[in-house]
């Protein structure tokens, strides 16, 4: 390459673009340089397919515990996993801002590739555009994902029944606070690392062991409360959380206390909430706790019959209804 930053010509469809693709993007993704066809042609496995798409506009691009590349892979994979699907393929759409250091692009792409490889998915199609300096924030990424849903798996929020146990796969609220701390230079020492991770493996392990999972939800924007509110509405159940059981790291609690935030309104990017029948809760927790990414899994409450609502039962016995935050607690976190 003749320059070390992205230029408008890199998106112009000419030789510069071909060079960017052949020398930077394709090698980073482990795809041999070739005359790329307009569409990937794939052998579909039998069964039902799950498909999803997500765009990533996080600022800053690199943050403790992750970066936009990892996030773009994990976010879409996790959405597939929440339908009980095994993720197979991803597309990668890049919108690059003129002036982005190519080294930053390489770092992001290396992250995409590493995360995809860890998760056993392939990037099978992509697109790159360049916008003028000042019209973007370095890199925006869109990923779409396709996965296959195993035979017999039927996971949907509406399936929750009174008596079901609600599980959290680990500590909650960390990603949102990590981004806020990084963006506002809060100077936390040590910095709070994002929880960005794939949860597809953990979900697959539950399903493989025959845990009759009723519903899954990843608590991204809006945090656990937004996810639980959706589950409550969809299932017409009252979801009661035991306040003392809700897992939040001390550093996250401390930062939220100072900033006036509720950790349950803060996003996670490597966690899921699950509803399972009471008889399966212990088995589910055993399975999750054997895996590094879900070692902190705990039961946080249960579903009850009653008006659909999310209730926080304090250790003093008082029940407080919790509602969604008015707007975004914090924009541009993913």
């Amino acid at each position: 390459m003749t320059t070390d930053v992205v230029r408008l010509a890199h998106g112009g469809g000419g030789r510069m673009q071909a060079k960017l693709l052949d020398e930077v993007i394709l090698p980073a993704l482990g795809i041999p340089a070739l005359a790329a066809p307009d569409a990937a042609v794939l052998d579909a496995p039998g069964g039902r397919l799950a498909m999803t798409t997500d765009s990533f506009v996080v600022r800053p691009l690199f943050f403790p515990g992750g970066d936009i590349g990892r996030l773009a892979v994990h976010g879409t994979i996790n959405d597939l996993a929440m339908a009980g699907a095994r993720p197979l393929w991803l597309t990668l759409g890049l919108i690059l801002e003129e002036g982005l250091p190519l080294d930053d692009l390489r770092r992001v792409l290396a992250s995409v590739q590493a995360a995809a490889e860890e998760c056993g998915v392939r990037v099978v199609a992509g697109d790159t555009k360049v916008v003028e300096a000042g019209r973007g924030d370095g890199v925006y990424i869109n990923t779409s994902g396709v996965g296959v849903v195993p035979e017999g798996v039927q996971i949907t929020p509406g399936a929750i029944r009174p008596g079901d146990v609600l599980l959290a796969s680990g500590d909650l609220g960390r990603h949102g606070v990590a981004i806020l701390a990084a963006r506002e230079n809060l100077g936390l020492d040590p910095p709070i690392p994002s929880d960005s991770a794939s949860v597809a493996g953990a979900v697959a392990a539950l399903l493989a062991a025959g845990v009759p999972v009723r519903a899954l939800r990843d608590p991204t924007r809006g945090g656990a409360i937004a996810a639980l509110q959706e589950l409550a509405d969809a299932s017409a159940c009252r979801l009661v959380l035991e306040d003392a059981a809700i897992p939040v790291r001390n550093d996250v609690r401390g930062a939220c206390e100072i900033l006036g935030l509720d950790p349950l309104h803060s996003a996670c990017e490597g966690r899921f909430l699950a509803a399972v029948p009471e008889h399966a809760a212990a088995q589910a927790l055993r399975i999750l706790r054997t895996r590094a990414e879900t070692a902190g899994a705990v039961a946080i409450g249960r579903a009850e019959a009653g008006e659909p609502a999310v209730i926080r039962r304090l250790a003093t016995g008082v029940e407080r209804r919790v509602i969604l935050p008015a707007g975004e607690q914090l924009p541009r976190i993913c």
Binding site: E257, T316, R320, R321, V322, P325, A326
Partner: protein
């Protein structure tokens, strides 16, 4: 967080609640003055735990809530000056005035910067000598020292491009106004601990004496709040009416002399309009004549827009503790945090926001 956990220990909370219940021979009505305390009470469910022993009514101690609409309208007018960079705390952005809110003013092209400290405005004025930086200076005794120091710094630096739209308010005159109200039901006060970290407890003695009302300086964690409530009902039960400091781990009886000195060098007491309470004598701070050149109203020739009514919003009565947020016909229906009709639904210290957030009831 270990430090905080001590003050949120559920077993201790339940023991304190029992002790308060055992003390009360009747149900007492206390007002917590500060919006931060209102939120803590609602968040930790103390209102429910104490329901049969103590009625907690919520006071006007939310700086955003009591800022009059006219001040907000003046701020909106300022954003129409292309050279102005208006600096304010984030909570002020969504408070509706007659001319809309500051978010809308920003969308219309005005420059509004959210700051975390008044000193940020000084830094912005230094960085942008070509701009007129205006600090929307709101808040109680606690935030006035930082605004005063911003003025003193600007003076020392010879900054000619910083001015203040001042709407600082003082808590004790508001407490007096509540007590002289013929509809008053307040039998005891929980005074805001952090106000006393600056002012000390001295200002309260005259009120306690004149109105025969106990005033207990109280903190913000459940255990602190319950200790304050317990002390207050103990006084009521034995007919005492004195000032008691139950937050002395943070608020010394004599406050912070250096902070007070900065305030009295730059500001002087003035009559101030309180949203919902009207004009109260000596209840606000204004710039002293020596610092009049920092006054944004004079600098930009701002005319005070006509005051307008609050529509269906009962913020005024809520702020005086006469009615609860849930008494408002608009609460949770026409008035939500997304579509606030009044400041108490916007502010992180507002009583309406606390009810909606922690009790979620309409």
């Amino acid at each position: 967080m270990k430090h905080l956990d001590e003050y949120r220990d559920p077993a201790l909370i339940l023991r304190q609640v029992e002790a308060i219940r055992a003390t009360c021979t009747r149900r007492w009505t206390l007002m917590e003055v500060c919006g931060g305390q209102t939120h803590a009470i609602l968040r930790h469910g103390l209102d429910e735990l104490l329901a049969d022993a103590v009625e907690l009514i919520h006071g006007p101690g939310c700086p955003v809530c009591v800022t009059p609409a006219e001040t907000l309208d003046q701020a909106v007018l300022l954003t129409r000056h292309p050279e102005v960079m208006l600096c304010t705390f984030g909570d002020m952005l969504r408070v509706p005035g007659a001319l809309g809110d500051l978010n809308a003013a920003r969308a219309a092209g005005g420059e509004v910067r959210v700051i975390y400290s008044p000193l940020d405005a000084v830094a912005l004025a230094r960085e942008h000598p070509e701009r007129e930086v205006v600090l929307l200076a709101v808040g109680f005794e606690t935030t006035a020292p930082a605004a005063a120091i911003a003025v003193l710094q600007a003076e020392a630096l010879g900054l000619g491009n910083l001015s203040l739209l001042v709407s600082h308010s003082l808590v004790p005159p508001a407490m007096e106004a509540l007590l002289v109200d013929p509809d008053n039901r307040i039998q005891g006060f929980l005074a805001a601990g952090h106000v006393c970290t600056v002012e000390g407890a001295a200002a309260y003695h005259a009120i306690a004496e004149r109105f025969r009302v106990p005033i207990v300086v109280t903190g913000f964690e459940p255990v602190d709040l319950l200790a304050g409530i317990h002390a207050c009902v103990e006084q009521l039960e034995r007919g005492a009416a004195r000032v008691e400091n139950r937050y002395d781990r943070a608020a010394p009886d004599d406050g912070n002399a250096a902070a007070r000195a900065a305030v009295s060098r730059v500001f002087e007491p003035v009559e101030r309009e309180w949203r919902g309470m009207g004009r109260l004598p000596a209840s606000g701070l204004g710039l002293r004549p020596e610092y009049a050149r920092f006054d944004a109203v004079a600098r930009f020739g701002l005319v005070t827009p006509e005051a307008t009514g609050d529509g269906p919003c009962i913020a005024g009565e809520v702020l005086r503790g006469l009615r609860r947020p849930t008494d408002c016909p608009a609460f949770g229906r026409d008035c939500t945090p997304d579509t606030p009709l009044g400041a108490p639904m916007v502010s992180s210290e507002g009583a309406c926001a606390a009810y909606l957030h922690y009790r979620g009831e309409a």
